[in-house]
């Protein structure tokens, strides 16, 4: 009796409430536990029928915003823990106890119980697992030229420095305090202008670097981090959820070494190299970041707007404060962001920059516009090889990655396509070039074979019992004049040059027997036709909440969803960033670069990247700040463009053309 009482107390102490359950509640619990086992199996986690020392704790993961501290506190009560593994982004954790008895205790007391996490709670489901594999922690070196010095200033110095900045100042001329949408910025010495990402060297600000900063700067000089005293200071204040997009500090206005002092809360800064390497660096409060050489001239640095960062747990600090590669299982925990103030000290450069990193250097010919997104959007290809590479990256890889989610959204065949298929005479041989998940392969019972570039999608066709194979639409391994009809639905708009689009049409025509028909559908630039908005646009209002915007137009106010932070992809065009190059906003693409489209809005360029938000098994509309985004390349067609393209093909004529739900369509007849 007494034992029971004390264990209940222990549980309550750790915010886990033991509840007496009714028969219905027990039944519901059994169902929920079964469901959690199914989900775990999908993740490749197989539960053991017999008790073991290790348990999987479903819903107790970093992906559920459960912190190591909270979970650990509850688990420690059950016995001595050997390890606690919390894989990044996952909705579960693994605990291994020293003995089976402790695991048994944990199972008995915590399975089906609520765990209090901050202001919310999660229902934990535990199950035994036979083993927990630890992956090797990948140790990532810091970018070349980057040094992080912890405890560079004392708490007293930190307080003095923070107090030296008067944010309430109304005298804008003195310090050039600007409200850059959300992040607060103040300049001293010289103003850094965000409209051209440069400094007016002839117009120094009345206020120079505050005297309070001198001891810190002298310390830097003494320790050899800098050779000359900086004469420009930019103070940035970031609230939780604010950040700064990746950028390289422009070469021409500033000398090599840049010092950044972090005060207040810690944050995670991401460094990206043009070759794709990414290094995430934890910047603790009162630390000094020294950027020199490659880390200053080539790597971009940025802070993803977030309210929580994943950082190494204190017991196991990674060397150099680098967070391990995503995907490696290491001791990570969630760290809530607080207000961080950075003091960035720079020396104004008087002569043009003569660094070795010419491709990033504005003094030596490179564009002074910092890259707004990383990796930078590709330019339109000018040759087949480039086109093939672009399509590989922005079409083929994407479809393979999103195949099952994509398939689940492609279930209703379009009526007019069905009509075309059904009106073919019996005994017809049909080919669906770019058949996707086989949506149309079951419409007409006649002989139809489908092909698609994505093996993942063709796999889905095979599972549905259809005849399909993997091939490219530019080279279909079917004999010339072997088909009575072909369809190409939403395919040709993925080819990135006119020549390739033409080649795709030619290939379709080649397959046709004399008198045969081809049906082609491509996405239309004009989404509104005859004053009718297409379904694509109409659904905009339903789906708007929670979607991330990746448009280059920053004029829209992009408020984050209430209460939660959208863990946005870095390289977002963020608050406070005004792009210099406004050519891409509307209308023609003058410099051949691709713009990223905002889903469910009208198109403003013909060649673009359309985001796809991958939802794996999650309910539609459910907010998930860990949703990956993929970009697919499209060339959307103007009215008349498809007919014009087809008219360049010999031996075929356009029998009819029409607009159908946001697509331009043609029916071709072979001579």
């Amino acid at each position: 009796h007494q034992e029971h009482h004390s264990s209940t107390c222990a549980l309550e102490e750790n915010n886990v409430k033991a509840v007496r359950r009714s028969k219905e509640e027990k039944k519901l619990l059994r169902k929920q536990i079964k469901a959690s086992h199914t989900l775990l199996k999908h993740e490749g986690i197989h539960t053991a029928p017999q008790p073991t020392r290790s348990l999987v704790v479903a819903n107790g993961g970093l992906g559920n915003s459960v912190s190591r501290e909270e979970l650990s506190a509850a688990l420690k009560e059950m016995g001595e823990m050997e390890s606690l593994l919390m894989p990044p982004h996952k909705p579960y954790a693994f605990v291994t106890y020293r003995c089976e008895e402790s695991a048994l205790k944990a199972y008995t007391h915590l399975n089906g119980q609520k765990l209090q996490c901050g202001e919310s709670s999660v229902m934990l489901y535990l199950a035994y697992v036979s083993s927990v594999t630890h992956e090797e922690e990948a140790s990532v070196p810091l970018p070349e030229g980057l040094v992080l010095l912890e405890d560079f200033v004392s708490p007293e110095e930190e307080a003095l420095l923070l107090a030296a900045v008067d944010w309430s100042s109304t005298n804008d001329d003195v310090t050039a305090q600007k409200a850059l949408k959300h992040r607060r910025v103040k300049h001293y010495g010289f103003e850094f202008r965000y409209d051209n990402n440069n400094v007016d060297k002839d117009k120094p600000l009345p206020a120079g670097i505050p005297a309070e900063c001198l001891p810190v700067l002298e310390r830097c000089l003494r320790n050899g981090h800098i050779n000359v005293m900086p004469d420009q200071l930019t103070v940035n204040q970031y609230e939780s959820g604010q950040g700064i997009p990746p950028h390289v500090d422009t070469h021409s206005p500033f000398e090599d070494t840049i010092l950044s002092l972090s005060l207040g809360a810690k944050t995670v800064m991401e460094f990206r190299h043009p070759d794709g390497r990414v290094v995430a660096v934890v910047l603790p409060g009162r630390s000094l970041l020294v950027m020199k050489g490659e880390s200053r001239y080539v790597w971009t640095h940025g802070i993803t707007p977030r309210k929580f960062d994943m950082v190494p747990a204190c017991e196991q600090q990674s060397p150099d404060h680098v967070t391990p590669e995503p995907g490696t299982r290491s001791n990570l925990t969630l760290s809530k962001r607080g207000t961080r103030t950075s003091f960035t000290f720079r020396k104004i450069r008087l002569e043009p920059c003569r660094c070795a990193f010419t491709s990033a250097c504005d003094s030596q010919g490179a564009s002074s516009t910092p890259s707004p997104s990383t990796p930078p959007p590709p330019a339109l290809p000018c040759c087949h090889a480039d086109a093939a590479r672009l399509e590989e990256e922005y079409v083929h890889r994407v479809y393979d990655a999103i195949a099952s989610h994509f398939s689940s959204t492609r279930h209703s065949p379009w009526p007019r396509v069905c009509h075309f298929l059904s009106s073919l005479p019996p005994g017809s041989v049909l080919a669906d070039v770019g058949c996707g998940n086989g949506k149309y392969l079951g419409v007409n019972p006649e002989m139809i074979v489908g092909c698609d570039r994505s093996s993942a999608l063709v796999q889905i066709c095979a599972e549905r019992g259809f005849h399909a194979f993997v091939s490219d639409a530019l080279n279909v391994p079917l004999r010339t004049a072997s088909c009575d009809a072909c369809i190409s639905i939403a395919v040709i708009h993925h080819f990135s040059t006119e020549e390739r689009r033409l080649a795709a049409v030619r290939e379709l025509v080649r397959l046709l027997k004399p008198g045969g028909h081809a049906l082609i559908y491509v996405w239309a630039f004009e989404q509104e036709y005859n004053k009718q908005r297409s379904k694509y646009l109409k659904d905009h209002n339903k789906e708007h909440h929670g979607k991330e915007n990746l448009t280059k137009n920053t004029s829209e106010d992009r408020r984050e969803p209430h209460g939660k932070s959208a863990m946005q992809n870095s390289g977002h065009l963020e608050e406070g960033y005004e792009p210099v190059d406004k050519k891409q906003d509307v209308g023609k693409v003058t410099d051949g670069k691709l713009s990223v489209h905002t889903n469910r809005t009208a198109f403003n360029t013909q060649d673009l990247l359309v985001p796809w938000h991958l939802k794996e098994g999650k309910k539609q509309g459910e907010e998930d700040h860990l949703t990956p985004v993929f970009h697919r390349y499209y060339h959307v067609f103007h009215q008349g463009e498809l007919e014009q393209l087809c008219s360049q093909v010999d031996g075929v004529k356009v029998q009819s053309s029409y607009h159908d739900q946001g697509n331009w369509c043609v029916i071709l007849e072979k001579d």
Partner: protein, 123 residues
């Protein structure tokens, strides 16, 4: 890959003129039960390359007593149609490859799906 599909496929390697039919090298073959539709089979037969079908069935060891030449009045011959149905729609190559008869290039078949993608230099 079913033999109906095989009957349509050809090698499209650059420069190849005699790429049809593709040779089949199967390491795993399955026989499924598929609902028999005599009208469908009957309509398909005129569209097929009969010789290629028989040869393919033979390669897989599933020819049984399929004739080398089309029989007359096959539309009414249910026995015959059933044999064709079996070879056309029930026999399935799960693993193996298709080989271009002229260049020797092999196209893999995996999980029942032929991958006919060419490399850049073969296009």
């Amino acid at each position: 890959m079913k033999l109906l599909t095989h009957n349509m496929l050809t090698s499209h390697v650059k420069g190849v003129t005699k790429g049809y039919p593709l040779l089949i090298k199967a390491t795993e073959v399955k026989v499924n039960e598929v609902e028999f539709n005599p009208q469908f089979v009957s309509r398909m037969i005129p569209k097929l390359e009969w010789g290629a079908l028989v040869h393919a069935a033979e390669e897989l060891g599933h020819r049984q007593d399929l004739p080398g030449e089309l029989v007359q009045d096959f539309e009414k011959n249910e026995d015959f149609l059933k044999k064709v149905h079996r070879v056309l729609l029930e026999v399935e190559v799960i693993e193996g490859c298709l080989q271009c008869p002229e260049s020797g290039r092999e196209f893999p078949i995996s999980k029942g799906i032929p991958n006919m993608l060419l490399n850049e230099d073969e296009v």
